[in-house]
């Protein structure tokens, strides 16, 4: 698959390494060129310096024709706009976006984006851990 990753922080770089190792064609975009050091030296894919909102950079990084676009910069609004550009303008079939704020996550999920909300997930998992420990579902 051709995979574009916007945001090369901990999450973005882990995903880039994962997909690169399993032989996929990976391109990464980050506004900070030092972020390239989060990728392993043997990373085969491309690294593009630029802000995700920059349609020119997205195009250069091969958004058009990508099978998957994963968006995980540190800004919720940047992520939401980049994800919409990838979907609406470049017609990437699978766009997944990280959004910290549960309210914005819910709203844009209802509009058809695939949203991962770490805050909601963490709360759910911690609640589940307590329930598991107690051996009952706590409301």
């Amino acid at each position: 698959m051709r995979i574009l990753i916007v945001g090369c922080g901990r999450v973005g770089s882990s995903l880039a390494t994962l997909y690169d190792k399993s032989g996929h064609e990976v391109n990464v975009v980050d506004e900070d060129e030092d972020a390239v050091h989060r990728l392993e030296p043997e990373f085969h894919g491309g690294f593009f310096k630029g802000v995700g909102l920059d349609v020119g950079v997205l195009r250069e990084a091969g958004t058009e024709g990508a099978d998957v676009c994963l968006v995980a910069t540190d800004g919720d609004n940047t992520n939401l706009v980049v994800a919409q550009i990838a979907r609406e303008q470049f017609h990437v079939p699978c766009v997944v976006v990280r959004v910290f704020d549960p309210n914005r996550a819910k709203f844009f999920e209802a509009r058809g984006l695939r949203v991962v909300c770490p805050v909601a997930l963490t709360a759910d998992l911690m609640h589940q851990a307590v329930s598991d420990f107690r051996g009952e579902d706590i409301e």
Partner: protein, 226 residues
Amino acid sequence: MNPFILVVGGGKVGANLSRELLANDFEVVVIEQNPRKHAALEKEFEQAAIMGDGTEVSVLEKAGIARADYVIAVTGDDEDNIIISQLATEKYGVKNIIARVNNPSNQQTFDMLGVRPTVSSVRTILSMVEHRLPHQRLLSLLSFEEENIQVVEVILSENSVGVGKKLRDLPLPQGILLVLILREHESVIPHGDIDLRPEDHLIIVTEEGREDEVCDLIARDRDEQS
């Protein structure tokens, strides 16, 4: 009851705008997330200045977005202005919005996502400079996005194909209307007997997207291929 305007972003634009709106008897609330800027706003606008991230639902609701007649997104970040506008129209059913475009290269993203109308001071200044100091023969003056109509200015040179022709002999198709000729600082109302001269500035109303066709019909160099 006075119309209620919610201004998101209390920088220079937001603060000055809020002041003017209040002076014109609008009800105004302004949201600003920077504590220092918010403190200054609070001094002037008192409880109408709300501190917080204007892209957060709880902050928008505290500011009263659900009853806003107008939401104006004028933060310094284009992505924030887009999200604010989308939340306002789609989540809260706000009828009227204005979004500020900071970086003109993001304009296409606002347009693509249907966030309109937009205001860009950079673009406005640029078009004024181009109008005064044209170095291109086609300038965009005004765009009515909803109506799909735009007003352009075409500047003729000695070599333009239209020069020397009478207007009645110009092959202007439907949908392209010459409304005014600016000639040596005077305006000339077009009619069939007028012939076009070098340095004429033609004000033309056209359907969106046909500006190149206009240019090609009138202002193309004679020796240039159509």
